[in-house]
Symmetry: C2
Subunit: 520 residues, 2 copies
């Protein structure tokens, strides 16, 4: 007798003091609901198995096949009709539902496709994905050893390994729902260390603060300042050089400026791997400034942190060990899948817990029968917290530190290949020699070549990337992002991070940009 039948039988057994009508077993017209509202395990597992096959076929095989489209673009109104998203009084049958699964897969962007270059994530790692499926099936929260024994220990090991790469033999940390959240943690912990009374008494009890980050840093620094009640105007944007790196001399000036306005400098958020240009701020020089001024040094290495795996390239982050805290998103370059963002701290005084603890007695009982210091919930501003360590851990076990190093090195090699090709090819103009794997460039269509001096050149150039982008997306041939930045008009940001990308994919990329833009 299978388990589901067994449970159905159990429900039919006579039960002391329980009249039939008290807990009715509901059934829909097709008799689908057995043993309580569609939780029949046999049927449910059969649906899940079918869905798994669709995932394998549509997302992981077709979705990564270079001969298939990256996306099956539909305009919003059309897609709305196609998907029939409305939720109704009655449920649908299994066949209809499986078609839903297929439709969702069909019209979603294939971010693991070898020609998806649109974001700072791409590609698929099957061990990480297995870890993600297992995480979902186990459905627990990271907050106590009691309900997440494996993951509490595992998170600790993974974070300590990441800290070792940063250069810290001890410290603290946790996985956060994204790099913006990790950066926000940094600001909050820095504020608490400087002014612990803020936790109880709020900002009115402390002086006006100032935080510092570069003009090309991630917008989450500003968002965090707003959320924390520090305010966007207290974020001093430090100048960058031509390559997008923070200028330490200007940092010193901005600190003086803040002081002259009566603010107390709190934190510098340096960046390792800026979002657009992939620039690495000079950490050692910034650390000097932080030390001289008693500032918390945070490094937003959400994107660039993975270079720490590479013996060859980790010098880009020279000085990182002098930071107080680091944001590092393995879901970007390492392919763990969204979300996997580590917030790492050098602190060994339990600052994270002191800053965030609420001592909720229903969750973190002090009379438990195990070491309650393992209950991490009080370190977090969240209560329930998704398990984000398993996917990284399993992938790391699979390829080893050496394998992850290889991936990082390969991404650099790919970028270098692409840059070389661009230099030799008419119509491709690099913004800069890239430091990292962000290859930023303008495509100059034939009609604009050699005409840099005409009056509306910049304006015309600014319209090239959006048109090429629209064409590629409508065709589904590839996806790459573009943006303006300070005085630069729209340019492409090509990101070659996935080890799945071949040299042919990059050749295709160049040809395709040209094909789509040759008439502009």
């Amino acid at each position: 007798m299978n388990q589901s039948a067994a449970r159905a039988n159990r429900s039919e057994e006579k039960c002391e003091g329980c009249p039939e009508e008290q807990v009715p077993i509901l059934k829909d017209p097709q008799g689908r609901w057995m043993d309580g509202l569609l939780l029949d395990h046999t049927e449910g597992q059969s649906f899940l198995t079918e869905a798994f096959k669709v995932i394998l076929e549509e997302v992981l095989t077709k979705g990564t096949d270079v001969n298939e489209k990256v996306c099956e673009w539909r305009d919003p109104a059309e897609l709305q009709l196609l998907l029939d998203l409305e939720l109704r009084e009655d449920g649908e049958n299994q066949q209809q539902l499986m078609q839903r699964v297929r439709d969702v897969a069909a019209y979603s962007v294939k971010t693991s496709h070898p020609r998806f270059f649109n974001q700072l994530f791409a590609g698929v790692d099957y061990h990480a994905l297995a870890g993600r499926f297992l995480t979902e099936a186990l459905n627990t929260s990271q907050y106590t050893y009691e309900v997440a024994p494996v993951f509490v220990l595992m998170e600790d090991v993974v974070l300590s390994q990441l800290r070792l790469l940063v250069g810290w033999g001890e410290g603290d940390g946790l996985f956060c729902p994204g790099g913006s959240a990790s950066n926000m943690y940094a600001m909050n912990v820095a504020r608490y260390r400087a002014f612990p009374q803020v936790k109880l008494k709020g900002m009115w009890s402390i002086p006006q603060l100032a935080v510092f980050t570069s003009q090309e840093s991630h917008y989450s620094v500003g968002k965090a300042a707003s959320l924390l009640g520090i305010g966007l105007e207290s974020v001093f944007l430090v100048k960058v050089n031509q390559r997008g790196q923070m200028v330490p001399e200007d940092l010193v000036e901005k600190i003086e400026l803040a002081k002259s306005q009566g603010a107390v400098p709190l934190l510098v958020s340096a960046t390792s791997g800026t979002t657009v240009q992939g620039a690495f701020d000079p950490l050692d020089l910034i650390a000097d400034v932080c030390e001289n001024n008693g500032l918390w040094m945070h490094v937003d290495a959400a994107w660039g942190g993975s270079v720490l795996f590479s013996k060859k390239h980790r010098q880009l982050m020279k000085g990182i060990e002098r930071a107080d805290s680091v944001t590092w998103n393995p879901h970007k370059m390492l392919l763990t899948g969204l979300q996997c963002s580590a917030f790492l701290l050098k602190d060994t005084t339990n600052l994270l817990k002191h800053c965030h603890c609420a001592n909720a007695s229903y969750l973190f009982q002090q009379d438990k029968f195990y070491d309650v210091s393992l209950d991490t919930g009080d370190k977090s501003i969240q209560c329930g917290r998704k398990v984000d360590c398993l996917k990284l851990w399993l992938m790391w076990k699979a390829v080893g530190t050496r394998g992850l190093e290889g991936r990082v090195d390969q991404a650099f090699q790919n970028a270098s290949y692409l840059v070389d090709k661009m230099k030799k090819r008419e119509g491709f103009q690099l913004l800069n020699e890239p430091e990292f794997v962000n290859v930023c460039f303008w495509f100059i269509p034939p009609s604009l070549r050699g005409k840099q001096n005409i009056k509306d050149y910049q304006e015309r150039l600014s319209k090239v990337a959006p048109v090429i982008k629209e064409r590629m997306v409508r065709e589904g041939s590839m996806m790459v992002g573009y943006q303006p930045q300070s005085r630069r008009v729209n340019f492409f940001r090509m990101v070659v991070l996935s080890p799945e990308i071949t040299l042919q994919d990059m050749d295709f990329f160049l040809n395709e940009i040209e094909r789509l833009g040759v008439d502009l």
Copy 2:
């Protein structure tokens, strides 16, 4: 030729201007790394398929089998040894890795087991789980229509359906990483509406604020106040009655108290379904107070919100339509799986976006070829944001609104069955007649029965629950939480939320508590 072989071949093709050594194909001693660092699709998919089988067997079949253990408890030091968590220079072979998958499954708590009553989540819904696997495989972020066309439209539909249940024909919202984050959003948006200058100028530009919530509300209200720079001391804890419901008269008094201290009352965070007792604050009365005082009314219905599906029980939240914002976690009672937390807003002025926007030009270009108001990223304090709508949408499509209503009603019936049994049974003492499905009670062991008047009764009673808990966890027979609360010593909080729970499971529960505690 399969796809993986095809891609391997592509790598071997001669490539213009690309010397062999430029992008080496790495291989480990077993020759496992093909086509770049273990991303061979055939091998990867084979591993994933094997892992899927383990998930089916260990987590979803054994893990939900009433004859198996809820958890295979190991003390931390022992578990650390068993798991071999360390991450090394070299990777492991597929067989070893599959054993890792089995070990993680074996030693994790089975939160879908019918005798897991430990948290406010439990059970498994296979359609939701299929949605979660598909979400993981598609690996995208919710921030733009461009990379998440299906999910941008879907989130909008799901949120609007939830808002309809709240009683709003229009409004705004987004899915957040947990209820604590949703509550924090509410506080930030309320602050911004009252004092928009705070975004730029910080808290120094505005008067001292005060927020109000009940003594038995969730600790995230306090955490949010600390994080936002409002400070824990500005959170006024309003008295509750015996059943744990906020006393509106005391709310009025606390508002006056805050004013008398020079603070500006900002927001009331009422609770629908408190964490421990499952109490529902009287929303209509609280709405009156909020209206009279011009306060933002937030309702933390993370736990209780799902009663809105039930025609029979939704009166518990009478007045909810008068709220300004609502937190509602379908990952609790509705079984969507972690995480699925909706933050819902009545506002139609785009307050959420105004409050959080950073206008990042690299992500939210204004010259895109589709309606950029679909890009939700500027509504969020995050940048990348996990897709949390698909699991709920697919489950809702599967069972219909009626099916979800049935689940809620069944949970109430189960709780009522349990309460009746307890009343008839010696040794079980209810705290209160429950309003919801939290059944809070003391187990009075035979040695303490009828001895309420002896001097150390409370102290001895406080030690009962921890011992029973330890015994049940070490045996793995079931899991249920306990806690002290205000002057009440440790009591159990039994939560019967999963439709998978049968009457036999509840009978077992009572017998098991007695068996484990009879000698105390």
